[in-house]
Every structure is written in C-alpha cells, then in structure tokens.
C-alpha cells in the first residue's frame, strides 16, 4: 500500500467526480432552475481540470477548460440548461473520461465536434445573447484592469490540512502588485487561542489585469475551505485602502485597550472581557455554520469511508464464520458440563461472536444507490434514442445489500429497464390515444422485507400482451393450443431462452436473450422473480433477493442419519405426513387445504439406507410456480449459517448448492430445491417410460 501510483489516485478521484458530474447533469434535466446543481457540476469540472493539469493530463485540462468556458454562461444563469445542452455535456463528460482512461487512444476530433456542438447550443438563444456577452466582456475588462479587491476568510482548520495561506498570498503576488492587510479581529484571547487554527483574514488589493478565473485558480484547492469575496477595483477604491500605519495602530491599540481596564480596577475587566469573549464566539459559530451549509448536499453521500479490498472482507467473513462455528461447539460443550463459569464465558463469547458477525456482514453492505445512479444515464440515453420521454424515479437508495449482490444485480436490472422502456412504455401516439401523460414513468425501488430485499422495476406502459405471448409460445411449440394456463404461467414463457414477441429486432431488445439470463442470474443468487401486469396500466417486475450470499437462513432437517438444510426462502409450511397420504407408491400427493401438492421422499432421492421414522414430516417448498412437499424424518429447526461451496470434485452433484458446518463440527449439505425437483422429475419420467 505504500507506493501508490499518483495517476491511479487521480483516476479514482476523477471517476468519483464524473459520477457527481453526471448525477448533477441528469438532475438538471429535471430541475433546470436549480442553481445548486449547476454549481456542483461546475465544481466537479473545475477539480477535474485542476488535478488533471497537476497529474500531466494536459489534453484533459485543455478540453475541460474549453468545456468550462462554454458552461460558464449556464452558471451565470444567462442560458437555461436545455435537454440538448445536457446531452452534449454528457457526451463531453464521456470524452473527458476517455481522455483520462486512454489518453493516447482517444481522437481529438471527437472532442472538437463536441465543443462545436456545445458552442452552438450556448450561442443558440440567439443573436441577442451573443452581443450581450460581447458587450459584457469589454465592460468587465476595463474594470479588471484596475485590479481586484479580495477579502479572504479561511476556514480555521485550514492549517491542519496542510494548506498554507501565506503560500496562496505569494501566488497571488505573482499575478500583479499586491497589498495584503491581515484582519485580526478574529483572534481570541491567548488562553483560548488554538495554536493550530488560522484566525487571520486578509484584505488584499491586487493591481493586475488578470481575470477572475486566474484568481480562482490560485484558490482552487482550498475553495471549499474558505470564503472569497471578490470585487473589481474601481479607481476610487484605492482611497479606502487602509494605510500601512493604521495596521500598526490597530495591533497596538488592541492590547492597550485590554490592559488599561485591568490597571484601573478589578471588577471592570470582567465586564470588558465578556463582550470580547462573545465577539470571539460569534464569528466562530458563524464559521462553523458556513462550511456546514456548503457541504450539506455532499455530506449525505460522502460519509467518511475507507477503501478496503473486497478479498479482505471476504477473508474476514470466512474467519468470522469459523469463529461462529467454534463458538457453537464451545456452547454445546459448556452446556453439557456443569461448570457455571465456563457456561458464562461461553454465553459471553456467543454474544460477542454474534455481534462480530453482524458487524462484519454490515461492512460488506453497500447502499444500492450506487447501482441506481448508473441507470439514470441509461434511461436518459434510451429515452432520447427511442424518442420516448421517460421520467425515472428511484426510491430506497439507502437500502443496503451485500457488495457482491450489487455487482451481480447490475446486468439483470439493465435488461429489465431496457425492456421497460423499449417494450413497456408505448410510443407517443399510443400514449396520447390512451389518455396518458406524455412522459412515461419508470420506477426503480428497493426495500427491505424481512430477511429479503425487494428490487422492483415498474413502468406505466401498456402492460404485457398475454394473448400474444401465448400465441408465440404455441408457435414455438412450448405449449399445446388447447392447454388451459393461468396468465401467470403464460408470463413465465418470457423467461424461456430465445423467447421474444417483438416483431422487429431493435438494437436494444427483441432478440430473446435477456430475460432468461435475468432469471438465471437471480436464481443463482437464491432469489426469485415476480411479474405482475395490468393491461394498459403497466408492468411490475419484482426481484426478491436474500440480503447476502455468504449466509443462509435455512431449515435444518434430518433424513435417516444425515442432516440437510433447506433454504428458508423456499419453505412455505410444514405438515405431518398422514398414513392415508402414503397408501400406494404410485400416488404421491397431499391434500393441503384442498390443493393438490405432490411430494417427494427425500429418503429415496438421497439414497438413505434403513427404514423411515414412524412420524414423517413434510416440508412444503415452492420453486417457481410449483409447490412440492419434501418428506423428511425430522424437522430440527431454524439454522443460520455460513455457506461453504462444494469443491470441484463434487461439481457433478447438482442437488446440493453448498454445505454448512453445524454446531457439532460436522458438515450438513444445503439442498438446491429447484435442482432437486428437476432431478425427481427426470427420475419419475424415466420410471414412467420404463413402465410403458
């Protein structure tokens, strides 16, 4: 970690700034009047430019400078950020990113084209705007010739960050002849003076023909930690300049005023001191308020964080998993003995291990908002390309999910959102005919529900065309024409590989790959997909996901001498297997409140020797649309455990998704219910064909 490539640091920093920039630009689409957003976009640009130049990305700095200049008018509020302008700005952002990632491989022609576009838009509001600018510039110039009056007020912590105001003043002197007067009214009494704080402010008169940007550049790296008041210096301003002599007077006058009352009388200084103390306190409070206000929009996002390699977290999780297992063994051992003090220690360790596990799990959790941010750009671009105005709403960005889950979720969500815009939202004419608002709406929601997270993609488009899906399924020979199916069952065909009802293949979708990938990815994450639709009102796709991939909440059961875990997310209910339910071998189903539920004997599937227990239990599980009962000897109870994957040597075994270590140190296998049911189906089909 000691030798960090500074360029890499810049790239990382830049990528964060790009996210801010992109977010601000996209927000501007919705709230073109929000000055804060323009400023935050501008700030990000400015920092990219500054640090780009510092790390030798000259092309980046040059282009960003041009971009910034064009954007300046937006900042001044002279030009409204239109959709077109923002689209160009986004393209410019992509270009800068390309410049940073591959400085040599990026063609500057693209950059020039973007700048041309940008200039066109900026000048577009018209001929009247241009002379305006032209007029203003010369008007500002003569004023600038006289110089600037600067009032510098630094954050009191600025010295702690390693910035030296004096160096900045030196830089300022390089711009022209410079006269700086420190303002010392902020200096507290000696006993309250913090040696590391900066109490001084400066009143600077700069005689130079430089423009405002040149001055801004001097303070670029500290602009968040200071207040800079800039006024162009008019000719008469020079008169109000404090004379050098006055400075000395001020310095001397202050201590004298303090000392004099002390000499006079004892009670007096108390009174004298009080207002002085108040004066000191007041600016301090002000100062504390100011940075807060300016930082507030940022603060909610950048809470102090530490970058940790993901592998280290995984390793930590493994260690904690082992600790939990060892602790369970200790608890078991302590419970069987009679030593009270050991029992107490075991309990204490149990508590500690549990909280350590929760903390470690928490460290792996990342708010899903980081993922949602990526889709705003996607929706923006898609809605422009397809000419379908779409409002994109995200809810529940704070919802936390395991980091690996977030990575896995990106692709499925891209598919779902593309589908929602391309197939879901109707085109303008259809929407108008249906009496809907012109803008479509796509809502991306994340919410915790028990031990699960529900991620929903909801559109207010036309809904699924059930009849067409059915027709297509029949055409592809997936179902016989006469079979009665529920709407829900028909919708499941959307998840078949190669299934697409789109008449034409667009660049975006219609190839029929996608939904099956979504389904597979989600099922690999031990999640499930719900699809609801209302004709004419839209479609909602809900992904149900476990909180983490590393830990499973399961139901521990016993079959013969072996113990197995069924993922609790699949379990619906447990019932006792009645003797009348197992009358014959050819008829394996239960009557669960009037519904027919087939059951599988785990004993047979898992090839367990010996005879079954007298009172068999059935665990009813659901996988996709099917409900199946699994018959076991005993239900032991809930078991939360760390998942261990099976090794390569067992990769041919599909009915187990992994293993977990139980309290007594033995391993229990986790049943993959979908695979188990599929295996049982294959087995019974074979039996039927053999019998025939």
């Amino acid at each position: 970690m000691s030798s960090i490539d500074p360029t890499e640091v810049f790239r990382q920093e830049a990528s964060e700034l790009f996210e801010t920039l992109e977010g601000a630009l996209l927000d501007l689409c919705q709230r073109p009047d929000d000055r804060e957003l323009v400023d935050s976009a501008f700030r990000a640009l400015h920092t990219i430019k500054g640090s780009g130049a510092m790390f030798g990305f000259d092309k980046v700095a040059a282009f960003t400078h041009e971009f910034e200049t064009a954007f300046e008018l937006v900042r001044k509020g002279e030009i409204k950020p239109t959709q077109e302008l923002i689209a160009v700005a986004l393209a410019a952002k992509d270009y800068i990113r390309a410049l940073i990632e591959a400085p040599d491989g990026t063609d500057s022609i693209i950059g020039d084209a973007i700048l041309d576009d940008l200039k066109q838009f900026v000048a577009l509001p018209g001929e009247p705007a241009k002379p305006d600018v032209a007029e203003e510039a010369p008007a500002a110039k003569p004023a600038a010739h006289a110089g600037w009056r600067l009032y510098l007020e630094f954050d009191s912590h600025i010295l702690c960050n390693g910035s030296n105001p004096l160096d900045l003043l030196d830089d300022l002197c390089k711009l022209g002849s410079c006269f700086a007067v420190p303002v010392i009214d902020g200096i507290p009494m000696l006993e309250e003076l913090e040696p590391e704080y900066c109490y001084l402010k400066w009143d600077v008169t700069l005689h130079s023909d430089c423009d405002k940007a040149a001055i801004d550049d001097v303070f670029m790296f500290v602009e968040d930690e200071m207040k800079l008041t800039l006024t162009p210096l008019a000719a008469q301003a020079e008169v109000s300049l404090p004379e050098p002599g006055l400075l000395i007077e001020l310095v001397e006058a202050e201590p004298i005023a303090e000392v004099a009352p002390v000499a006079e009388a004892v009670p007096a200084p108390v009174q004298a001191k009080e207002p002085a103390a108040k004066e000191v306190a007041a600016p301090a409070e002000q100062r504390r308020d100011e940075p807060k206000r300016s930082d507030e929009p940022k603060r909610s996002e950048n809470i102090a964080t530490v970058r940790v390699q993901a592998e280290r977290l995984d390793e930590l999780m493994d260690r904690v998993g082992e600790l939990v297992i060892a602790q369970a063994r200790l608890t078991q051992l302590a419970a069987s003995g009679s030593d009270l003090s050991i029992k107490m220690i075991a309990e204490e360790i149990e508590r500690l291990a549990a909280s350590l596990r929760d903390t470690t799990m928490g460290a792996r959790m990342v708010p899903i908002g980081s993922l949602f941010g990526r889709f705003r750009r996607l929706v923006h671009d898609l809605s422009r390309d397809l000419n379908k105005p779409v409002e994109f709403v995200t809810v529940g960005e704070d919802t936390e999910l395991d980091k690996t889950m977030i990575e896995c979720l990106a692709d499925p969500l891209v598919h779902l959102i593309r589908n929602a815009i391309d197939h879901g939202i109707e085109d303008n004419d259809k929407r108008a005919a249906a009496g809907k608002t012109e803008r479509g709406r796509i809502e991306l929601t994340a919410v915790h529900s028990g031990a699960q997270v529900l991620v929903t993609v909801k559109d207010n488009g036309g809904g699924l065309n059930t009849a067409r899906i059915r027709a297509k399924a029949e055409e592809q020979g997936l179902i016989a024409p006469s079979v009665a199916l529920s709407d829900n069952e028909i919708h499941q065909f959307l998840f078949h590989p190669g299934f697409s009802t789109a008449q034409t293949i667009s660049a975006l979708s219609g190839r029929g790959v996608g939904m099956d990938v979504v389904k597979r990815t989600i099922e690999n994450m031990r999640g499930s997909i719900d699809l609801t639709t209302r004709p004419g009102e839209g479609t909602t796709v809900t992904l149900r996901l476990p909180l983490t991939l590393a830990i499973i909440e399961g139901l521990l059961i016993r079959v013969g001498g072996g113990r197995y875990i069924i993922p609790l997310s699949a379990v619906e209910e447990c019932v006792e297997l009645m003797p009348e339910d197992q009358r014959s071998r050819g008829r394996n189903f239960l009557n669960v409140r009037g519904n027919l539920v087939p059951f599988l004997k785990l004993r047979e599937l898992l090839v367990v020797p010996g005879s079954p227990d007298q009172h068999q239990k059935t665990i009813i599980i659901s996988t996709g649309e099917t409900r199946v009962g699994l018959v076991a000897d005993q239900i032991i109870g809930n078991h939360q455990t760390v998942i261990k994957s099976l090794s390569k040597l067992h990769s041919d075994v599909t009915i187990f998704s992994g293993a977990a270590i139980l309290g007594d140190g033995t391993a229990a296998l986790i049943l993959d219910v979908a695979q188990l049911v599929a295996a049982a189906q294959a087995q019974s089909e074979k039996q039927i064909s053999e019998a025939a």
Binding site: D318, G321, E322, I325, A326, G562, R563, L605, L606, V607, V608, K644, L646, S647, K648, L649, H650, D652, V653, T654, I655, F656, A659, A660, I661, G665, T666, A667, A668, L669
Partner: protein, 160 residues
C-alpha cells in the same frame, strides 16, 4: 495454518533433491503408497464424514477441516480394494491438488500412516502392464523402499 490442533501435523517442504523425493508413506489394505510430501498439508484423525448423495463413488462425502468443507476421497474404492472399517490406525491425509489450475484440498483416507521419508527416484521400476489390478495411468511410478515395492500414485489423475 494455525497449529492449535492436537493432531499430528506434517509440514514438509517439497525438497526434491537430485534423485530423491520426500514422501509420506501410507498404507491402503496390504499395499504401501508414497504420497509426494509437497502435496500433503496435514494429517488428521478421522472425523465424521457427511455423505453426498449422487457423488462419484471414490469421493463419497465431505468433511469439515478447520472450517473448510473439503471432499473426502477413498482411494481404496478407486483401486478396487476392499473397504475396511476405520481402525485405531486410520488417518485422513489432507492433500492439496491442482485440478483445472485451481488448488483443491482433498482428504484422503489412509488405513495407516507410516512415516515421512525419502525415496529414490533413480531406482524407478517400469510399471508392469500385467499382474496389477490398477489402471496404469493412476501410477506415476513404482520404486523400491527398504526392499519393498511402493507405488507413487498420480493423485490428479486418480481424482479427476
């Protein structure tokens, strides 16, 4: 690896000098096999195994070795030898193999573990084509150790 266990732990560097090779000598049934010491991570007492239904017969189950669930291999089944009950001498030799370019830990049941020793690679006997009930590809080579013939198995091939 931590050393908190009471089980005998062998950490031998795979120090193959010219002509000699460090091995862990194990007994399976009547036969002696020499496992390359460089592969061996540890030797532990038998632990209860969990049977995996549907697995290949020679890797019938999994065991928990210090928090890791690893497959338990029974070479006796692979070599068509009779499987006997665990005895006081039975051990599990944990070896690390390279399967499809990934390190995989496997527990191998041994009826007895003799010692860590050096065998000569120069005294290699050609693997006979007849008179053996093992597939020739499972055998790396056969060599002589204290006037006895010992088999150096090719673990990767046996378990793949």
């Amino acid at each position: 690896m931590s050393n908190g266990h009471e089980q005998a732990q062998v950490q031998v560097q795979a120090r193959i000098q010219a002509g000699s090779m460090q091995v862990v000598m194990i007994g399976l049934g009547e036969e002696k096999f020499a496992l390359d010491a460089g592969l061996v991570r540890e030797i532990i007492d038998p632990v209860p195994a969990t049977m995996v239904a549907g697995a290949k017969s020679f890797v019938p189950g999994v065991i928990n070795v210090r928090g890791n669930v690893i497959p338990l291999a029974d070479l006796r089944i692979r070599f068509g030898m009779p499987v006997t009950e665990d005895s006081a001498d039975t051990r599990i030799v944990v070896v690390e193999l390279n399967i499809d370019n990934e390190p995989v830990l496997v527990g191998v049941i041994a009826d007895k573990v003799y010692e860590v020793t050096e065998i000569s690679q120069t005294d290699v006997q050609p693997t006979p084509r007849v008179g053996m009930h093992w597939k020739p590809e499972f055998i790396r080579f056969i060599t002589k150790w204290r006037e006895e013939f010992v088999i150096v198995p090719s673990m990767e091939r046996i378990l793949n």
